[in-house]
């Protein structure tokens, strides 16, 4: 060919004006780079999402399925077990999310001004359970909650209580499971709060102190607003993850006694893989999906409006 070719100029002979051709070459590379990820997203997120919608309108099980319109959804809202599961899921969220926020924020606040060595140590200690697989931690708690041989009943026995069947009745089981989830969930928010508190310039506190503000006032008017965006992030992500609680249910109560401690994800799992009612389970998962979407949007709107 012998044509002069620097990186600014495309190869001669493309038929297009040189600058246009170079631009399109760049675009093509753009498409190339996004292609693997895009294909994966289409195949493993979008297609399944549409398929889940489609399935929810069928009575899919093993073998041939047929369309039954909204029957699954209608059935769900008359189904006591499902409604119980829904209620449990909301209960978990309402209990766990505020507790996590308050606890991790308070711990972060307590950890200001304590010296770097101690700070590092506590940070690691609180984060270690987050590192451990939930399965492992749940297993230990399962042992500790055991009615006959568990540590907790030993401790309560010391104060004179009869052995409590922690996991045997819905109310204690749910409380027990909340404790488990909280114990491994405060690590990450704690780190986020610590790093956003660290980012607050010391001068703000000094100026306030000079102006005569006491430490609580400094806290309320400087610390709190400056970590608001972290709080928002923690609230949203924690809520989403609480809605997806599965491992504690599966390993501690298996949804029992009599389906009274199920959460939405566990119900979906049991319906699909226990009763092989894929259509119904798909409908349940769509309900979960919609709930999470709505809750997240509401949270975003609500908290953004304040700031």
């Amino acid at each position: 060919m012998g044509t002069h070719n620097t990186a600014w100029q495309p190869r001669a002979g493309t038929g297009l004006p040189p600058s246009l051709s170079r631009k399109w070459k760049s675009h093509l590379w753009g498409y190339f780079f996004i292609l693997p990820n895009l294909l994966l997203i289409i195949l493993f997120f979008l297609y399944p999402l549409f398929e889940a919608f489609r399935l929810s309108f069928t009575d899919a099980s093993i073998g041939p399925s047929s369309y039954i319109g909204l029957d699954n959804y209608v059935r769900l809202f008359g189904d006591e077990t499902f409604l119980r599961s829904l209620k449990n899921t909301l209960l978990f969220a309402v209990i766990i999310v505020p507790v996590i926020i308050v606890v991790s924020f308070s711990l972060a606040a307590l950890m200001q001004n304590i010296g770097n060595g101690a700070k590092s140590l506590f940070r690691i200690l609180f984060y270690v359970p987050t590192i451990c697989t939930p399965v492992v931690l749940t297993m230990v708690w399962s042992w500790m909650y055991n009615t006959n041989t568990g540590l907790l009943n030993y401790l309560t026995g010391l104060i004179g209580f009869q052995p409590i069947e922690w996991l045997g009745s819905p109310s204690t089981a749910i409380a027990a499971m909340c404790v488990v989830v909280i114990s491994w969930s405060i690590g990450q928010p704690l780190i986020l709060y610590l790093s956003s508190m660290d980012a607050i310039p010391k001068e703000y506190y000094e100026a306030a102190q000079i102006d005569g503000a006491r430490s609580f006032q400094r806290f309320r008017h400087i610390t709190l607003p400056m970590v608001a965006h972290t709080s928002l992030f923690v609230i949203i992500t924690t809520t989403i993850s609480v809605f997806q609680i599965f491992v504690v249910i599966k390993l501690l109560t298996a949804g029992g006694p009599f389906y009274s401690t199920e959460t939405l994800v566990y119900t979906i799992y049991r319906t699909a893989f226990g009763s092989t009612q894929f259509g119904l389970a798909a409908a349940q998962s769509i309900v979960l999906f919609l709930i999470i979407m709505v809750v997240s949007i509401v949270q975003l709107r609500f908290f953004k409006a304040d700031h």
Binding site: F32, A52, Y127, V128, M139, F289
Partner: protein, 271 residues
Amino acid sequence: MDVVRILKYTVLILGAILVVFPLYWMITGSFKPALSLWSVPPEWFPEQFTRKHYRELFDQNPAWRWAWNSVFTGIVSVFFILLFSAMAGYAYAKKKFPGHTLLFFLVIATMMMPSQVTLIPLYQFVSRLGLLDTYTGFIVPLLAFPFGVFLIRQFVRYIPDEIHQAASIDGAGELQIFVRMVVPLILPALGALAIFSFMHIWNDFIWQLVVLQRGTMKTLPLGVASLIEQDFSINYGLAMAGGTIAAVPLILFFLLFQKSFIRGIALGTEK
């Protein structure tokens, strides 16, 4: 030492103990002979050490295989996730091709999607392809990981355009620019992403549960969970040994790299 300081430290220490105690209990429990596991009052520190549970764990259960499954699938997945996310993140940040806003918005939208809604269709999809109980069937659906694309794109946006132009002038091709220039510049983000995605996959219990059913294909968390699902008396010693094996490597890994770990987490979640 005033009262406030003492209170502060007390609360912190108590909190730390409460949170870390289950791990201590698990590790010590794994070394206690079966009878001591139920002793009243409980042995706060094992009086007799035994390795019986560990022997049982490895002899009567494919624990090595479980560990290998977790590690292998984790590493392979993370490799591809890093690769595809870096490629896509770079393109969305620097290449303004037609449709890039829309497509990136799509990525963000899928990021917000809870994974349970795709669980059943994905299961059916993998099943129909005959890929249940295989590494491929397990790994490939996990590779999409939209958060990775988001993270990398945010990071790449900070790379000045002049660098790209300078490289172009020097005659570098697109692949060279990507591999030799962009990738080295985004290493911290790649590190954080590696940690995130590895943990995400390691802990994705329900996908493991649903796709991997054969005993030898189970991942470590799945295998360990099966140890406490005996119908009759649960062998807690065995379960604690399993749990220790599953948790301790992660803890050690974390302790070694905790500075970068924690920095990576703070980095990755700064939206």
